[in-house]
Structure formats: structure tokens, C-alpha cells
């Protein structure tokens, strides 16, 4: 393929038409000493078949992409109905710009409005925005918003929050004068505790907790909400496995004030970590403190209903440094994928997929815990992820599972928690067949025999 439509001859004519002689003349406003003399040192142009061969060769080196896997920890392999990608690939959606001109962007705007509504329904909250970059930045923005809402600068964060999310949050708040403090952790249940957190006081802006948490344990959100609200703090709930919305009580219904989530589970390819989509929902009264874009209903002179981007006064275009966030481009197309997924699976399907995930994970957990030397250190209820304590170093075990059994067995927690050398985090979704689970169990058994 080639990108540039105009032929060299046409371009020469156009140059003459604007009164120039050479292409160089177009760049006369760049001081001569700054103009590049040598050609860029990038590879020579490739034709279409050559380009595809190049990427096929690289893709073939990603062995992990093509074998049974029990990796979760913030990115989940769920089935994506074929229609999602077919619809995303309509130029009308994927090549359109941000819908600043509503008369020629109603398709995108209506889809955003549906996305916002669905996010409200799943999180159990009243307003949701048009998306954030991903779950990790959404947590960080939630913390910043909690500060704006409460005007308090201490935030208590669960140690069971995804370590990369925590890291991102630390980066985001490092210049906002916000202090992050750790909540407690009950190693037996695997849940977050606030009791020993004397930290929770009238200076606390928010308590941030993930559920199911990084170790797969379901938190008692109602209890955490009560504790937070008692001191006037907000409860921020983070969900990395959005599929759990179909199974667990809505965080909003448990008292959460801000719910953020990673929406990748809803029909979005793993794609080595991105693009994904951040979900962000809160209570009506905090709407004007929200980051990100919002689509809303509007009517024309004839009273016809349409949709527009609204409450832009919160945003940087108008507010500049006083904006609620610096976000501009968000994850529109990925939010659309999630919207199509939620609508295709629908009320029943979202619950049925969640049910299958939970059941298959329960089956896997049962089988593994029955193995000699293996244990499940945490007792709390879980959705589709759980920690396994192996009788040997998890990293070696996983390496051998991959090499000898062609299975990606999960995540070695040592990657984030050096003090947990034998622990691995196992995730099971509706796509993991019983045969795959049994092969994992057999592998764990035989490789530790």
C-alpha cells in the first residue's frame, strides 16, 4: 500500500500554484541549520506482503499467546463474540474523531451514552464517564477526585490493590500533596482490614480497596464503606476483573462512593496490556468533580433528541490548569467494544459467564488444594482467581509447566512480593476447559512429585 494520494506531478503543479519552486521552499520558515540534511536512519519502505511477513515472524516469537493459560492479575482471557470486532472495524467508528461536532457524530455519542448507562447499572452508581485510559489510571484519578471532594489529603490504600495500580497511583499523587497510607491485611482471610489502621480519621479523604482484590479475595465492601463513612471519608472501590460485576453485589449497593474498573474483560483482546479501558462511576452529587468526558441528552429546535459532550467546564479545554483532570483523548473505541459486549451478553449472559468463571475456578481450586504440599493460603470467598501456595519456588514451577506441559500456569507472586516465593496466582475463566484445568493440576502434581 501507499499512503499519499497526490502524484509527484500533481504535487509539482500545486507547488507552482502556491508560488513555490521546490519542496524545500515549504520549509523555509525552519532555520536552515535546523533542517535535516541526511535521511532518517529507519529501514527502507516495505511492501504489504513484506510487512506482514515481518510481523508474522515477530508474532511467532510470542509463544505464550498460543498456549492454555491461567494468567489473570488485571488482564483476563474471556471469549469475545465475533460481532464486536466486525462492528469496531466499520470506518464510521474506528476512524472517527472525538464527537465535538454532534450533528455528524451521533453514532459515537449515542454509543457513549449507552456505555455510561451500562457502567452505572453494573457498578450500582448514578453517573459514569466516557472512559479513562485504563483501570490503573482510573484509580489514581479517583484518589485525586476524593481529595477535591473532601478537601482532605490522606488516603488509605489496601495492600491488596494491584501492585501496578498502586505504583501508578503513587506517581499520580506524588505532586498533589496527598499522603498514601496502607490499610491492614489479614493473611488468613486474604482481606483488607481497617481495624488496626488507626490511620483512618477525620483527615482521611478516602479508603481505596480492590474487590475481588489482587489475591482474588472478595472484600466485605459494606463494612469498609461504613468505616470510611463514619469518618466522612469516601470509599473508592477498584475492580480489575469486570466480569465479577455479574456475580458480586454491586459496589455502589455496598456503599462505594467512587467505583473504578478495568473493562478489558468485556470483549477486549489481551494485546500485551493495551489498549484497555477504564470505567469510572460515582454519585450524582459528585458529577461535576469527575474527570473525563461525559455525553448527555440534548434536543434540537424541533425537539429531536440527540446527544452531546457536556459539562465540558470541568475539562482542560476550558478550565486549563483548574480542570478536574488533564485527560483529553480517552479509550473511545475500547469503550465501544465493551458496550457491544455488554449488550450482546446482556442481562442474562453477563451473569452466566460470571457463573461459569466462578464454578470453574472453584473446581480448579478444589483439585489443586487436594494435591500433596499445595495449599490455598486465603480463606475469603473468591470469584475466578486464587492464590496457591506451592511446595516449591513458584517461578521454577511455572517455567517447567510452560516448557514441559505447554501451560502458562499463572503468575508467580514473587514478581511483586519477594516475600512470597512459593505463591502463584491462578485465574480461571469460561474459556479454560476442564481438560486444561486437569492438565494444570496433573502438571503441578507431577512436577512437584
Amino acid at each position: 500500500m501507499r499512503y499519499i494520494p497526490n502524484s509527484p506531478a500533481e504535487r509539482a503543479e500545486m507547488l507552482r500554484a502556491v508560488g513555490l519552486e521546490t519542496a524545500e521552499d515549504l520549509f523555509s520558515s525552519i532555520p536552515a541549520d535546523l533542517r535535516l540534511r541526511a535521511p532518517l536512519d529507519v529501514p527502507a519502505a516495505l511492501s504489504e506482503p513484506e510487512l506482514l511477513a515481518y510481523f508474522d515472524r515477530l508474532a511467532a516469537k510470542n509463544a505464550a499467546a498460543t498456549r492454555p493459560s491461567f494468567l489473570g492479575a488485571g488482564a483476563y482471557a474471556h471469549y469475545a463474540p465475533t460481532i464486536i470486532d466486525a462492528l469496531l472495524q466499520r470506518s464510521e467508528f474506528f476512524t472517527a474523531y472525538t464527537p465535538y461536532q454532534p450533528e455528524v457524530s451521533q453514532g459515537t455519542l449515542q454509543a457513549i451514552f449507552e456505555f455510561q448507562t451500562l457502567v452505572c447499572q453494573l457498578t450500582g452508581l448514578e453517573v459514569a464517564n466516557a472512559s479513562m485510559y485504563d483501570g490503573s489510571t482510573a484509580v489514581a484519578e479517583a484518589v485525586l477526585m476524593a481529595e477535591r471532594v473532601t478537601r482532605r489529603r490522606k488516603v488509605i490504600v489496601s495492600p491488596a490493590l494491584h501492585p501496578e495500580y498502586l505504583h501508578v497511583t503513587e506517581t499520580y499523587v506524588s505532586h498533589a500533596g496527598i499522603r498514601l497510607e496502607q490499610a491492614g491485611f489479614d493473611a488468613a482471610t486474604g482481606q483488607t482490614t481497617l481495624t488496626d489502621a488507626a490511620a483512618l480519621d477525620e483527615q482521611t479523604a478516602a479508603v481505596v480497596v480492590q474487590s475481588p482484590n489482587f489475591f482474588g479475595c472478595v472484600e466485605d465492601l459494606q463494612a469498609l464503606a461504613d468505616a470510611a463513612h463514619k469518618v466522612g471519608a469516601l470509599l473508592v472501590v477498584c475492580v480489575t476483573e469486570a466480569m465479577s460485576f455479574g456475580w458480586l453485589r454491586a459496589p455502589g449497593a455496598c456503599g462505594a462512593d467512587i467505583v473504578v474498573a478495568e473493562g478489558q474483560s468485556f470483549g477486549v483482546p489481551l494485546s500485551y496490556g493495551g489498549p484497555y479501558v477504564g470505567l469510572f462511576a460515582t454519585r450524582e452529587r459528585f458529577a461535576r468533580q469527575m474527570p473525563g468526558r461525559l455525553a448527555g441528552v440534548a434536543y434540537d429546535k424541533q425537539g429531536r433528541r440527540g446527544f452531546v459532550l457536556t459539562l465540558a467546564t470541568r475539562e482542560q479545554h476550558i478550565r486549563r490548569e483548574k480542570a478536574t483532570s488533564n485527560i483529553c483523548t480517552n479509550e473511545g473505541l475500547i469503550a465501544l467494544a465493551a458496550t457491544i459486549y455488554m449488550e450482546t451478553l446482556g442481562r442474562k449472559g453477563l451473569q452466566e459467564v460470571a457463573h461459569q468463571c466462578a464454578q470453574k475456578a472453584a473446581y480448579a481450586a478444589r483439585q489443586i488444594s487436594a494435591l500433596d504440599g499445595f495449599a490455598l493460603p486465603h480463606s475469603a470467598p473468591r470469584f475466578n482467581e486464587f492464590v496457591v501456595r506451592a511446595p516449591a519456588a513458584a517461578e521454577d514451577l511455572l517455567r517447567r509447566l510452560a516448557a514441559e506441559r505447554n501451560i502458562t500456569g499463572g503468575l508467580a507472586l514473587a514478581r511483586y512480593f519477594p516475600d512470597r516465593p512459593n505463591d502463584l496466582l491462578v485465574c480461571v475463566t469460561e474459556l479454560n476447559t476442564r481438560a486444561e484445568i486437569d492438565a494444570l493440576v496433573a502438571g503441578l502434581k507431577e512436577l512437584t512429585a
Binding site: 535521511p39 494468567l71 470506518s91 476512524t95 505504583h167 458480586l248 500485551y272 455525553a295 473446581y363 514478581r415
Partner: protein
């Protein structure tokens, strides 16, 4: 030349919630193949979802496909034609790159896959880093930021960290350089990102010629508290900052660093490199200059590139090459930290790399040349009818105003809406803020001469209408399925989600 626009019948379509019918299903799952555990053993009742997902629609696959196919037809898009949004660089999105991004070996790769089994993906990231470094003339690159604003935040945080280290300031104990200078013409994300990184924003004036006011810059730098400058080059009126070298010198002499907003790199790729100008940090918009699709508002990708001196402060992990192997390296103690989980918007990295490899060095240079030529052609074509606030020849985009049409009460918004009737998406309007009634036009290299001429003809026809029949323009668009929407009312009583009650209202 047949007219570009024509009316045609389109499908209407309600909200999916208004279409929902109890009992409809669009999916089927494989049967559960493990023995079920009683629910009570798995999850106590008080933790269970108990609302049966009330309100979530129940529709069939045909419903979903028709729903989105229908509403999609209400969108303008690049495959329909020129999308002249200034500053947004709406260029052609190659289908080939979409195909590349969907190769299963990439699309199905988990971000936490063992490095040894993800070498292909790490190589993609590494290769793209190398090419962006060559294109910008800056040694250090991180692909972690998810969009331009994200890259800005990353960049100014790097400046923050570097200065603190250099000046030996810890948290708040010794006075910090807290001022970030930003031209009044800058995009709103610049001050917002600076603020997010703890800086105080001071605004620099632009000259009547549309250049940074050096005198004002010197004056502001004199204060001694300047951490840096955030500059867009070419700037947001489409002009190259002639004194860029001098500007960088002034800021550097004042002990600050220079951040460049790379949103307008489509005017420079292959012709000039920010690194050679004295720029210390820059972000790129892969979704602009490198043609990754905008997707109706994202995803984007905003790589951050910086000098070797600043590289230690880039986000972690970084992708490094050791011999023939690639790995993620977390060991940068001075790093600003992580700005996003995992490795950035990898799917966009694939597309941008495909874009660079398809062009090659000559192609990249050609594309820039074609983009600037197209903008110049429009500048030339519209000058007779529209007020061009800056005399200097524009680079990749050109700004006009509604000054002349304003006399008849026809303003930029009206002209923009009227363009729709002629089959074009409007240009960027009322940006930059320093130009009253700004119309910022960026054709990009993806438009052929024929369509440029149709655009010029349309704009000239509108100018004529503004003279002869202002109402025609004031009430535009006349050909869309809805007219101008009352945005003020929408903001006063925002309806941000569907609720069963809404249904009645729309029947």
C-alpha cells in the same frame, strides 16, 4: 466536479435500552463442563449480586448488529473524506495496520506473559522506541503513556524529578523551581498536565506575528523560579517558532528545561528534529502523526522522548536489549515511576511501527512535505475570502477567522456547521484561544488535490452565502438527521444516563 454532498435516506434508531425485550438472547456459551459447587459454599448471600442486573438490555445478535450499524451511519469518518481538524492530524488509517494488530500472536498475548515467551512483543516496543528516537533526535523513549496528555504529564514529571535531583531539593524542605511557562496559544492539556505535576503555570504572550514573545519570555525567566517551558512547535497557529534555538537557550540559561508538545510533529518528521533544536522532552501522538485510528475519542498513545541526560527519569519498566534478547528493566531508581499498568497501548505501537516501516525514510519525508503542501494550498485558496490573522506561510495547518463574515453576523460556528451541508467535517473551531473566531484547518497528506479544491470551493461558497443569505448559514446544518443541539440546556440539567422514565420522553 459533482457536488460532494447529497441527501439520502438513513435509518433511525432508539437507545438499546428502548429496544430491549425480556427474554431475548444474543449469545450462547459452551455447556459448563465441571461439576457445580453449591452457590452457598462459594459466596455468602450478602456478597452476591441481588438485582439480576436490572436495566441491562436483553437483545438478540441481530438487534445488536443492526443497532450499531445504523447509528454508525450518523458518523462522519476518514473513509468518507477529508477531516480537516486542525491540531488533530486526521490522516488515513491503513487497514493493513489493523490487520497487523489482530495477528493472534499479538492480540492474544497476556501482558504478564514470561519475557522469554513474549520476545516478539518486546522487540516491537524496542524497535518503535529506536525509530521514534531517530525521528525526534532524542535518546530516551518510553511508550507507556496512553495519550498525548498522559505523555505531557510524564514529561513534566521528568522535568520535576530532574530539577529536584539537580538542585538537590527533597520534598518541600528547600525552595523548588515551581513555575512552568506556557504560551497563551497552548492546548488546554498543557497547563492541566503541568498543574497535575505540581507546577504553577505562568502564561507567555504571543506576538502579533504568532510567535512566542521573546521579551516576555526573558522577563518571566528572570524571576529565577522557572522550571521549564512547554512549547508546541509548529505552534497551534501552524507557524514554526523561528527563534526556537534562542528560546531554548533562554530557558536553559535560566536553569529550566524545554518541553515540546509534539502534537504537530506531522509538520517536521523527516525534515527537522526537536532534539536538534534544544528541546529536552517531548511527547508524540501516535494517533496523530503516526496514523493510529482515533476511534471516536481514543485509544491514543503518547510516547515520551527525552535527552540522554533525562533518560534515567523515564517511567519504569523500560524495554532494553541485551545481546539478542529483550527484557523489561525496573532498575531505574530515579524514575518518575509508573504512569500506566503494563506496557502502554501496545496495539497502537504495532500500528505506528507498521506505519513507519511502510513509509521508510523517504516516505516519511514525503508525507510531511505533502501535508505541508496541502495546508499551503488551502491557505492560498481561502485567503481571498477569509481573514488570515498571520501573514507568515503556514506549515501543516492554517488558521483563519470569521472577522469578515462576522460583520454579517455569521460566525465561526455557523461556518463550521454549514460545511457539513457541503459534505465536509468542520475544521477545529475557537482554538487556539488567542485567535478570536479561529478556524484551524489541517488537511494532512491524506487528501488529494481534487478534494482540497472541493473544500476550498465549499468555503468560498459559504463566504458568498454569508454575504447574500446569512440565515442560510446561521441555521445550518440543513441536511443532517438532527439540527444544532441546545448544549447550554444540556449542561444546565444534565441527563447523563438512560433511565426507564427517559423512555416515555423519547417515544
Amino acid at each position: 466536479m459533482t457536488s460532494k454532498a447529497t441527501p439520502h435516506v438513513t435509518q433511525n434508531e432508539a437507545l438499546i435500552f428502548e429496544r430491549s425485550q425480556a427474554g431475548r438472547q444474543g449469545y450462547r456459551l459452551p455447556p459448563l463442563d465441571v461439576d457445580e459447587t453449591p452457590l452457598d459454599e462459594l459466596l455468602p448471600a450478602h456478597l452476591r449480586r441481588d438485582d439480576d442486573l436490572a436495566g441491562v438490555p436483553e437483545v438478540s445478535e441481530v438487534d445488536v448488529v443492526r443497532h450499531f450499524t445504523r447509528i454508525s451511519t450518523w458518523n462522519y469518518n476518514i473513509d468518507l473524506g477529508m477531516y480537516p481538524l486542525g491540531s488533530c492530524t486526521m490522516k488515513y488509517n491503513s487497514r493493513l495496520n489493523e490487520r497487523v494488530a489482530r495477528i493472534p500472536g499479538f492480540a492474544n498475548l497476556h501482558p504478564l506473559a514470561p519475557e522469554a515467551d513474549a520476545q516478539g512483543a518486546l522487540e516491537v516496543i524496542y524497535e518503535l522506541q529506536q525509530h521514534l528516537s531517530e525521528i525526534t533526535g532524542l535518546a530516551g523513549v518510553s511508550l507507556q503513556p496512553a495519550a498525548g496528555a498522559h505523555g505531557e504529564m510524564t514529561g513534566v514529571m521528568i522535568i520535576r524529578a530532574f530539577l529536584d535531583a539537580r538542585d538537590g531539593v527533597g520534598d518541600g524542605d528547600r525552595p523548588r523551581r515551581n513555575v512552568m511557562l506556557i504560551p497563551d496559544s497552548a492546548h488546554g492539556t498543557n497547563p492541566a498536565s503541568a498543574h497535575l505535576s505540581g507546577f504553577t503555570v505562568k502564561t507567555i504572550r504571543s506576538t502579533p506575528e504568532g510567535q512566542t514573545d521573546l521579551a516576555h519570555l526573558r522577563e518571566l525567566c528572570a524571576a529565577g523560579d522557572v522550571a521549564g517551558l512547554m512549547l508546541t512547535n509548529p505552534n497551534t497557529v501552524g507557524l514554526f517558532e523561528q527563534s526556537i534555538t534562542e528560546i531554548c537557550r533562554i530557558v536553559h540559561d535560566a536553569g529550566g528545561l524545554v518541553y515540546m508538545d509534539g502534537a504537530n510533529m506531522n509538520a517536521l518528521v523527516g525534515w527537522a528534529r526537536p532534539g536538534d533544536m534544544g528541546v529536552d522532552v517531548i511527547h508524540l501522538n501516535l494517533h496523530k502523526t503516526f496514523s493510529t485510528p482515533h476511534g471516536g475519542g481514543g485509544p491514543g498513545s503518547g510516547p515520551c522522548c527525552c535527552t540522554a541526560e533525562l533518560a534515567p527519569y523515564l517511567p519504569v519498566p523500560r524495554v532494553v536489549k541485551e545481546g539478542e534478547r529483550f527484557r523489561l528493566d525496573d532498575d531505574y531508581p530515579q524514575s518518575v515511576g509508573r504512569v500506566k499498568a503494563f506496557h502502554g497501548n501496545f496495539g497502537m505501537h504495532l500500528r505506528a511501527l507498521a506505519y513507519i516501516l511502510t513509509h521508510g525514510p523517504d516516505g516519511l519525508r514525503d508525507a510531511t512535505e505533502a501535508a505541508v503542501l496541502n495546508a499551503r494550498y488551502i491557505a492560498h485558496g481561502l485567503a481571498p475570502d477569509y481573514d488570515k490573522p498571520f501573514a507568515a506561510p503556514p506549515m501543516h495547518e492554517v488558521v483563519f477567522t470569521d472577522k469578515r463574515q462576522g460583520r454579517k453576523g455569521v460566525h465561526t460556528l455557523d461556518i463550521a456547521k454549514r460545511l457539513i451541508d457541503y459534505g465536509f467535517h468542520p475544521m477545529t473551531i475557537y482554538f487556539p484561544l488567542i485567535v478570536p473566531g479561529a478556524m484551524l484547518i489541517e488537511p494532512t497528506e491524506s487528501v488529494g488535490r481534487q478534494e482540497l479544491e472541493q473544500f476550498i470551493a465549499a468555503m468560498r461558497a459559504i463566504a458568498k452565502e454569508a454575504e447574500e443569505d446569512p440565515d442560510l448559514v446561521l441555521n445550518a446544518p440543513h441536511t443532517t438527521r438532527i439540527g444544532r443541539l441546545d448544549e447550554a440546556a444540556a449542561a444546565r440539567k444534565p441527563v447523563l444516563r438512560w433511565r426507564p422514565t427517559e423512555q416515555a420522553a423519547t417515544a
